[in-house]
Amino acid sequence: MKKVVKLEGIPLTEGHSGLYLEVEDGIVKRGVYYALVPVRGFETLLLGKDSRVAPTITTRICGLCQVTHAIASARAVENVAGIEVPPEAEKLREVLGLAVRVYNNLLHQIVISEDLFPDKREQLSFIREVQGVRKFAGMVLETIGGEIIHSPNVKVGGISEPLEEFVKEKILSEVEGALLRLQTSFSLFKEKLDSLWKREGFDESFGNHNLDFFATDLYYGKQVKFEDFSFVLPQEVVEGSLKRRVSNLFPLVGGKPVETGPRARAVLFKGYRPKGGVKELHILRGEENIDALRRIKEILENNRFDGELWNRKTPSSDGETVGVGIHEAPRGANVHAVKIDKSGKITYYKIVVPTEINFFAVSEALKGAPATKAEFIVRAYDPCIVCAAH
């Protein structure tokens, strides 16, 4: 029996999204996952503005992984204007990026704890533990970035405020405690994940696909060419009234749909051999938190940040060259591309966010899964819909 199922609003995910499923005998034959929140127009509203405000404005694309947009945006402008950033500032941004990785990934654990914990009391105590670690990540974001959500200190040219040694020591004094709490809550998380998989009758290959992986770096983000990206319009993918509602683009990398995120990073930079299903996404994401805290510790221990971290050079370019800024966000590679004119005004802005890249991956992963369980696949990707329809 063939039928088409359209779901609107996927609970336990960020934002308003939808699923289009062509189902045969309860199994998904073709699926499309898409965003349904309005396009806020961050790419057009920036046109004509001073490029130095781009990080402040683009960080407001997303309230979950805020600083990643500020970083990608600052790097894009620096790239096009040839502004050299003090190396310590880049390291400190890496710390911010990793802090938001932990902060956001753990938010995802809180969100799906509703699935994981049938017992309410156990769930609350798990959330309490996780919140303890998020508090540490929040403190890193607040002390270095200026605010927990939407860091004002990430500037074109660096970081606006040095980090005094005694503040650094304060952060370092708490990192071990946070790591310990994180490890404990992570083992509980894995245990509960196993029982969820058992309860629902999923196997390891639930939600697998054969797409390539795309990542630029393990922790921070390395340059890519913007020409590598192309975009499919939703009007070419979905049917009927959805054409006028789906609000994300479907980016291709090198002409192909790919998956980005924790698994892509593990495969490309850690030699990880993927098992295929979406369960490992949860695990790998959790492992990234532990890595991130260790890396934060390492960077802070081995560097000083109490000097000038901000190259205040006024950005300027020819209005033709495309500058690209990359940051490895919690969900994968976050790419901002910009052109600016001689006076530093933005003349072109383009944003490709990881959730957007993953829409096709999610759609592929849906194939062959029971239609009633499609939401579990979506959730495993931790989609951030506001980012996707920026």
């Binding site: 403190m139 607040e142 002390t143 200026g146 405020e161 005094e164 503040v167």
Partner: protein
Amino acid sequence: MVSLDRRFLIGNFRGAFVVEGKGKNPTESIFRLMLKHQFIDGLLTCSKTGESPKLILKSDEVELPSKNTCFGVNSLLKKAIQKYRFSRLAVYAPACTFDGLNKTQYFGIGCNWTKTAISLKVGFLCPGLLTENAFNAELADIAGKSTGVKRFYFDGGNLFYLLEDGASLKIPLSVHHHYTNSACRYCLNMAAKGTDITCVNLKEEDRVLLIVRSERGWSTLAHLQKTAPGEVLFRKAEEELLASVENFLREKILLNIADIVERVELGLPVPKWNDNKLRKFYRIWNSVDINFEEEVF
């Protein structure tokens, strides 16, 4: 009707003391000791000359603004609390700074975690603040000279400046009122009622009048005396001294009230979201029997 009595002018307090600092500024000594013995982990105030807000972390760096200029103190609040993560901060500033701070504490607005991060609020009796230009104009007006001001103090109910050339200059309030920051002309809280301790600068640099208001201020000073006995000497303030402070405040506040009354009568605008304290005050000022609550202002 508002009576310009002590309760209105100075506000409620538990005790008033003249404090002597053995040749040093006693307020500075108190903060120094508090930092040294870790009662507080930072002091937020202005630099000595008052030109910029300052965050003091070490006891040997303690210096307080000595002129009646002290702007922008709260602009460092986020740095102190959200960045440096101080949890036992002391603040030394004029009353209006504490209006901002109390608001941040009460509503949580403006800066995170402020409610629990402030240990002690010390306000100074404020004759109205001046910027550098205003000082120059005021001195030229009163004394016809342009030497700098070193410190301000109160003596016998009058405001004085100690000038850089060593001379003391009595500042007539009617003139002073013209040169102060405009908002100071509508101020009804020069004695810093929303603080733990109000500090009144006196003629001798090593003497100060401390008006202790809150339980917190009281116990902090008591604890300090126990921890570092003899470093600063406390003596109950004479009635005469308090009366002179009261007289100063009365004289200044009458000037302010005249301005407020004029402003309300002309219907000049107040900021939006303001619950219109000026008009409220005007009503109370002009009515015979109204139950006045000092906390409105």
